[in-house]
Amino acid sequence: MTHPSDAGPAPVLALKGISKSFGAVRALRDVSLELFPGEVHALAGENGAGKSTLIKTLAGVHRPDAGQVLLDGEPVLFHGPGDARDAGIAVIYQEPTLFPDLSIAENIFMGRQPRRALGRIDHKATHAATAELMKRLGVELDPDRPARGLSIADQQIVEIAKALSFDARVLIMDEPTAALTGSEVARLFGVVRTLREQGAAVLFISHRLEEIFQICQQVTTLRDGAWISSEPVEGMAEDDLVRRMVGRDLDELYPKQDVEPGEVALRVKRLTREGVFTDVSFDVRRGEIVGLAGLVGAGRTEVARAVFGIDRWDAGGVEVGGKALTNGAPSTAMAAGLALVPEDRRAQGLVMDMSIERNIGLTGLRTTVKAGLVDRGAERSRSLDWAVKLHVKYARIADTVNTLSGGNQQKVVLAKWLATGPKVLIVDEPTRGIDVGTKAEVHRLLSELAADGVAVLMISSDLPEILGMADRVLVMHEGRLTAEIPRSEATEESVMAAATGRAAA
């Protein structure tokens, strides 16, 4: 099943028998991989399978416990990310790594700015080169604006631009598309194809399996840190790939059961936050899953934040179970039975230096109390329950969450909020970075919650997910609600039409 190494060109970069452990966790076990010029190679696997660890080993961030990295057939030892970069390897990490205080242009060219005489930086040339990259990616980000405040999607774009600017022989991308919508993904793939034609080797990770079939020629699968297979994509079916990743067949994705909607649980009335969104009104009933769709930057997240009380609203109001919420007070929203799973898990969802147990416990500080003190036993059992229910992969419940893989971190965020037993659950990109298997579980879970009478508002950039799960689809465009489409009429076309501002279907 491996690549025919006697035919065609030699691999630019290869891993041979790599192993890597973190304490008791064996993240990689004897993994081998070959990257060839002119080829896009996919790396697939469940959350925590070891994909990011593999990439960090290639990039010189981690040093392998055993095994070799081969560059042009020669063994190399990277002492740090700088060495890998000098060897022509560009990496996009799973989590954006920008300098918030510096401009986009500086972020892209940090350490390699074009120079003038005496080693001075050529600011003009840096600006021009950045503008050129942005054009290539088809986005209009001002090279001079600081990176602080960029949405996750825009941050990801800057990361992509940075990687492209290297003109690297090897381009490694760890879930670059997780935060992007279709148009940006299409652009990115266009650029990747060009690079491939120019002879670059590309390593690509995504939990959106269709993307693998769209752009990759080879796919390597990992399971529990071990190599499972490497084979050509052509002729493979999605189910085959899933089976290799998960080790079994999967249930149906999007298993939304039909539930008779109950009374209104969440009512948003003419909500306005000046300059961000205007006059947004909608209801979510018990037992209902309402999808909220829109392009990146349409203001969906902002609405969710305001409803939950993170940001203040300027006009309008929110009711949960018939009771009006206080403006800008998440604690009262929580008390009323509202929960919000935020989109940025590292910044908003988790305290990275805290244990899994305490992170899940954080939302229960008010409820798991005995005589005014934290009830540790209750806290632990509550955390364990939910960590198990969501199949979080961890060594010890007292480990800090920053030792978890990206997808497992996302599960902890879900656990943290589901543990509050909410009446109304708002989820913002709940399955970002989650593998197919877990995604199905999350969907089943949301659906069960709905069946139990929870009102769910689901924000997602993954349109099939919305179409599959939602009883109704709300669509936002430039800060306004432009359409409300019942499940029966919701199609890609009708939603897109509303999302792009063309008259709703």
Binding site: G80, P81, T97, F99, D101, L102, G111, A186, L295
Partner: protein, 346 residues
């Protein structure tokens, strides 16, 4: 399979560019704001006391600020990297005495200044090594070295002191002389300031200081030699503290084992007032220098206006809070205004 937009360019981004430019201008204005506060303060004082801006008065103002400007410049480099050096006061004290001791025993003035800088560099290097190699919190380490250097200084110096009489006349005259109202010391400080600012803006390693203060983890991933840069920042800071020590000696002609005690708070105040943020990655040395000028001038303005010394401390503190509060409020106002403007456009 995700939402696919038929028209590829996302719309919301277009107005950003004019917005950020304005933000940029406002950021530059932040330093301008301190300058304006400073000028207004000087203006009022001059109106109340015409002697204030006499040649002697200007000279005094500049001389008072010089030493703090130097140390604050060095400190801002360290603060930009998300660290801090609390030991500058002790460094200043020990270098000042060492310089005096050397001059007292008949040393050459130029070599003395070089020695002061070298001693400062050495102490900065120690701080830098502890912080960057040990990867430990700078606040604790430099609080430790603050005590250690001060203790060693007191043990070495004992009750000795250096007075103007012990120093070569030329050296002391240099400390107070200058081109009409502009003292030599102020010219040196200005030179250092301009070179540092130019370096920070136009050289790769200068920008990397901002980068690693802004996001240390990302800096490591970007292959920036983090430890080396931090070491360099501390060394530079130490060197400037050393130079400031030599200048202190020339200016006051009087040092003992207590010289520079408590200076760290003044320096940190100057840097903060000047808009250099403690979480690293932003701020400029010009801001820090203006902060230093503002702080030292308050101490000249109040006596010149005849405010009783009893009130000076309280007024000082309140002005400090006002300065940062006004700065913050203006920045917030502008940010919201910009945001709303952008959004309306979209």
């Amino acid at each position: 399979m995700t939402v696919t937009a038929p028209n590829p360019a996302p719309a919301a981004e277009a107005p950003e560019s004019s917005g950020t430019r304005l933000v940029d201008r406002v950021f530059k204005m932040r330093e301008l704001a301190i300058l304006v506060v400073f000028l207004v303060m000087i203006g009022i004082t001059q109106a109340g006391n015409s002697e204030f801006l006499s040649e002697q008065g200007i000279k005094d103002l500049l001389l008072n600020a010089t030493i703090l400007v130097l140390v604050a410049t060095g400190q801002s480099l360290v603060v930009i990297t998300r660290n801090v050096d609390l030991s500058v006061g002790s460094t200043l004290g020990i270098t000042a005495f060492a310089t005096g001791d050397y001059l007292h025993s008949g040393g050459n003035a130029v070599i003395a200044i070089l020695l002061a800088v070298l001693l400062g560099v050495g102490l900065g290097l120690v701080n830098g090594l502890l912080v960057s190699l040990g990867q430990v919190p700078a606040l604790v380490v430099t609080l430790g070295t603050l005590y250690i250097i001060r203790g060693v200084d007191s043990i070495w110096v004992g009750s000795r002191q250096i007075t103007a009489a012990d120093l070569p006349g030329g050296f002391v005259d240099f400390g107070s002389g200058g081109l009409s109202a502009v003292p030599w010391l102020a010219l040196i400080a200005l030179g250092v300031l301009i070179v540092t600012a130019y370096y920070l803006k136009h050289f790769g390693s200068g920008r990397e200081l901002y980068a690693l203060g802004s996001n240390p983890e990302a800096a490591r991933l970007a292959g920036i030699p983090v430890r080396k840069r931090i070491l360099a920042a501390y060394t530079f800071c130490g060197g400037l503290a050393g130079l400031a020590g030599a200048m202190y000696l020339a200016r006051f002609g009087n040092v003992d084992s207590g010289t520079g005690t408590g200076y760290e708070l003044t320096v940190v105040s100057a840097v903060v007032v000047g808009g250099v943020v403690f979480t690293g990655g932003s701020g400029s040395v010009y801001g820090a220098a203006l902060g230093a000028l503002l702080l030292t001038s308050i101490n000249s303005v109040l006596p010149a206006l005849g405010v009783s010394s009893v009130w000076v401390l309280a007024i000082n503190g309140i002005l400090l809070i006002l300065a940062i509060a006004v700065d913050r409020i203006v920045a917030l106002r502008v940010a919201t205004a910009l945001k709303k403007r952008n959004a309306r456009h979209a």
